[in-house]
Every structure is written in C-alpha cells, then in structure tokens.
Amino acid sequence: MNTTSGSCPNFSMRLETASMLFHKAVDAVQQGQIPKRNLIWLELTGCAGNIISLLNGEDPDFKGLISQMVHYLYDNSLMAAEGEFAMDQLFDALDSDYILAVEGAVSTKDEGLYTIIGRWKGRPITAYEVIQTFGERAAHVIAVGTCASDGGISAARPNPAQCVGIQNLLNRKVIKLPGCPCHPDWFMGTLAYTLLFGEPELDARQRPLMFYSTLIHDLCPRRPCFDRGVFATQLGEDTCMFKLGCRGPVTRVDCPIRKWNDRVNWPIGDDGPCIGCAMFGFPDKMEPFVRFDTT
C-alpha cells in the first residue's frame, strides 16, 4: 500500500535531484569552476527544528555541506564560538559575499525584543534587526521551513509576539522552502542549484519547482483509494484519509517520493493524515488536523 514504484522515472529521478546537484556543486568547487561561497544560517523565532532536520540529511549530508560545498560561517546552534566571539564572526561577514539561510519567523512586537539572537558590542541584537541588516545585503536569501517562509507555528493564533515570515520585512526576493521542518534534500538541492546556476525556477510563491511542483495528493500511494471512494473512518486504517481531514490535496511538495528520516517513511505511510505543514497558512488554516464522523 505505501511503497512507491521504484521503476517509475518520475519517482526515481526526483529522488536523486538533491544528491546529483550536491555532487555537481562539490565537483565544481573542487575543480575551481565556481567559488566556495559563504553561508550564514540565522536561527530566529522558531524551534531549531530545521537545523536538526538538516543534520539528519543523508546523501547529501551536513558534513559534505560544511566541508566541501560552502564556507559555513555562522550558525548559533552548531558553531564552536560563543557569545561576543560568535557575534563577531557574524558581523565580520556582513560586507562579504554570502548566501543567507534563515529558519524561524521574526518577532516584530516592541521592535523585536521578544527574540534576541545575541549581544554584540554591549547591545542586544534582535531577530528583527538582524534579518533586515543581513537580508538586504545577501546574494541570495533562502527561507528554510514554514516559520521563515510564512510565519508558521511562531505566528499561529494568538501570535503574541506578532511574528511574521521574513518576506514581510525584506524588499527583495526570498526563496521559500516551507515545511515543518524543511526536508534536508529541499535545502541542500536548492543551495547546490543556486551555487551552480543561480536562482532556481520558482513558482508564484517563490518555491523551487524541482521540489514543490506537485501536490501530495497527485503522487499519494493512497490516491487509488480516493478515486474509488474508499475512505478511512479512523486513524490506523490504510486507506485514503480524505474524510479524516487529510491536507494532501492542498499541500504542494514531494513527501510521497522523498519521505523522511533517510527515506524510511512519512506521515501518510504511517496511517496519519497530512497536516499541511508545507503549505502557506499552516498551522491555523490547516486545522483541524484530524476530524471524525465526516460524511
């Protein structure tokens, strides 16, 4: 029921996209065809789920990213430096060529005082300040995850810190990789493509088409159940979960192909409905996540 066809080129080729791009980018860097560029990863108002997800990547993996593809200059969760020393590294990169990856939304209430990412030269640096300072100067900005892309859980009702996605504060194009969290392949593939060829082809909402071109419903292994009207009435049934409130028909991303945790499984594969975490409006507009007694 939940296995996807290994012989379908649509599946097998798309599965290799991120890996193929990563290895091409690494080869190009090693052969001097493209420069090894700087990457700054900012963690703003969020849960650090996207960097944890990135660490879980497998072919391409995080080790390859930081050792072979880019100069990984700053990430508050992972870097060795602490406090003022870490902030020095961040601000020293301000006038260099860098690509900016951002996870987390931006708290805007009271000029952003509810998210302070560090202290520099004796004063607190808010997410609100740092995204505007670094976002406008970056060569490319990549919003990693739903919070950075659209506010996400950080901006869910009642949104006491008045969080917004980073696009709301930047007067420039932002490549958006929504997903809670962002799949490692989506980020690594997008970054590798950007290094090799520049900005990838995006849809109207600035999502890379190579990962976000199809609805989950389009490629769902349980689609035949939907077409035949065979619906689950409770969690745990291995049929279509449309009547339980599955958001696969409105969520545009390639989870059915790529799956998670080294491609082991994904929510629908474990009999849970898609909750639309990669869709704009998540979580408020994707609720209720499950609903029973639907006709």
Binding site: R228, G229, T294
Partner: protein, 144 residues
C-alpha cells in the same frame, strides 16, 4: 437521426445503471463496497445531467448545472456541515455548492473554513478570478 433518437437510449442506459446501483446499495453491508457504488452513482448522475443538457460526455468538460430550485436559510445551510451523514455544502455569492467529495475539502474543511457556512468573503480573498466554482455541483441558493 435527430438528437432525441441519439440521446434517448443513452439516457435509458444511464437510468438502468442507476437503478441497478441503488438495488445493490440496499444489500451491501460493506462500507468499502458501498463507497465504490456511490462513486459509480455519482458518475452516472453526472453523465445523465450532461445528456439532459444535450451535450456529449467529455472528460474535461465542466458539469452543466441543473436548474436550482432549493432556497436555503443560514440556519438550514448550517445543518449541511459534512458530518454524521450530512453532506457538506458551502455558500458563495448567494449560491450553495456541494463540496462533500471535493478533494480540497478534507474533513469537510478548507483552509479554516468549515462546511455549512457562507464563505463569500473568504472566496473573494483567495479565489477571485479563478474558475473553481464551475467545477462544483450547485444545490441551491441562499434566501435574500
């Protein structure tokens, strides 16, 4: 051969198929089989309504809408919330649509909108200019 001669046997076939499906529904205890039969029934009624409009059946055509006769009050509409056996209806610009089996209405909800309500204002914000309503079955009008 005129249109009437062409369509009459097709309509009779569709009616016979519908009748057979209804007979099967009475004796089918299995929910899975019943859903399949209901799906077939839906296809036949759609086919029939196209024939009655004098159009040939086509995969990509928008379903012609039958004449609207039922008028809903807000209280009546609220009963069609898509739960406990009730179909899921939603009103937009004074017209009531059936969204019971529309894929984007999982759990009879759609981007925070629940069935049984008037979604005119939300529709104007999200779908203005998009041809989405033509794909939905019209079931009535709102009063006033």
């Amino acid at each position: 051969m005129n249109d009437r001669d062409t369509f009459t046997p097709m309509i009779e076939d569709a009616l016979q198929e519908i009748s057979d499906i209804i007979d099967c529904l009475y004796v089918t205890p299995n929910a899975c089989a019943r859903n399949q039969l209901l799906n077939r029934l839906r296809k036949q009624t759609s086919h029939l309504s196209k024939l009655m409009q004098g159009f040939p059946s086509g995969e990509n055509q928008i379903s012609p809408q039958p004449p609207v006769t039922r008028v809903f009050t807000a209280a009546e509409l609220s009963q069609y919330d898509g739960r406990n056996g009730n179909p899921a209806y939603v009103a937009v610009n004074g017209t009531v649509y059936d969204v019971t089996n529309i894929a984007a209405w999982g759990g009879a909800t759609h981007f925070g909108i629940v069935a049984g309500t008037d979604a005119t204002s939300q529709f104007a914000v999200c779908h203005a200019g998009q041809p989405v309503l033509g794909k939905l079955k019209v079931v009535g009008k709102m009063n006033g």
